[in-house]
């Protein structure tokens, strides 16, 4: 049955992300919040997360690339992004935020440059995975809606 295949595909995909350490069990806690009354919860959460992260990383890049590095704001944003990424289960990205925060608290510009590069790398992996998950989610929702008609 198509629905079952899709669900299995989704589970397999999430498991592979977990195997790579990109996601942890927290993502499934988020999935569990999806209900019949709120079928778009996962999609909306992913969208919200990516929006937060895109903006946050863009801002951090500006703070890092200015004539004088704004370490205070870098620290603040690494807090924010660590909070977001850990709440969605993006464990490797959360770790990258932690390292970046360590560097910015030490006013270590080179450390921040390296940390920022790693954060972007981890975010890109996570984002790609979340986008793939979203695609399957959309299909699942679409099928469920059609099934009700």
């Amino acid at each position: 049955m198509v629905g079952t295949d899709l669900r299995q595909q989704l589970n397999n995909y999430i498991q592979s992300m977990r195997d790579q350490g990109i996601l942890d069990s927290q993502f499934q806690s988020v999935q569990a919040l999806k209900t019949e009354e709120n079928p778009h919860f996962v999609l909306e959460t992913i969208t919200g997360f990516c929006s937060d992260a895109d903006n946050g990383i863009a801002q951090m890049t500006r703070y890092l690339e200015g004539p004088v590095v704004d370490f205070t704001n870098l620290t603040g944003l690494s807090h924010f992004l660590r909070g977001s990424s850990s709440s969605i289960g993006g464990v490797r990205m959360a770790l990258a935020c932690r390292d970046l925060r360590r560097a910015s608290e030490a006013n270590n510009k080179q450390g921040c440059i390296e940390g920022m590069a790693r954060l972007k790398h981890e975010y890109n992996s996570l984002k790609e995975g979340l986008n793939n998950i979203s695609q399957i989610e959309r299909q699942l929702i679409g099928n469920a809606q059609r099934g009700r008609q």
């Binding site: 069990s25 919040l33 999806k34 807090h79 909070g83 709440s87």
Partner: protein, 151 residues
């Protein structure tokens, strides 16, 4: 308050009914009510935290600042559980805890932070918080707390 706490059966990972709503985490005595407070306008972090609590049948109320927490308690509102962020704009987490304990708030207080720090933990506990955790708020953390509220 003399109201009895309903027995809470966490619905587990199969997903309970998330009662949509907004961003405050306050637990009420019946059903459990949680008061919380987001950092940096919360973002997705707050939505997930609130969603998780609500999926376990917890009535949650979210306010934006430590001052708002204090006001709410001062107005006589009672909560079984109050979740307070470490980093707050003006009145910080531990100070907020101090003030509401001084006003007689008796519920469980959980300090929550993005990056664990022992000094922050000491500050929170000394101010009267019962526990201090690093995000994220996961079912593993929430379920025992909610069960504990029943007692």
């Amino acid at each position: 308050m003399g109201a009895e706490v309903d027995h809470i059966c966490p619905t587990g990972m199969s997903g309970g009914s998330a009662e949509g709503n907004d961003k405050s985490e306050g637990f009420r005595l019946r059903p459990p009510k949680c008061l919380g407070r987001p950092y940096h306008n919360g973002g997705v972090c707050q939505i997930i935290q609130t969603g998780l609590l609500r999926s376990y049948g917890v009535e949650t109320e979210v306010v934006e600042t430590g001052e708002a927490v204090v006001e709410l308690i001062a107005s006589g509102a009672t909560f079984n559980l109050i979740i307070i962020e470490m980093l707050l704009p003006i009145l910080n987490g531990p100070e907020t805890v101090r003030q509401i304990r001084a006003m007689g708030a008796q519920g469980k207080i959980l300090g929550i932070t993005t990056f664990f720090d022992e000094r922050d933990q000491q500050e929170f506990l000394a101010a009267g918080a019962d526990e201090f955790i690093e995000k994220p708020l996961s079912p593993e953390i929430v379920i025992p707390i909610i069960r504990g509220l029943d007692n």
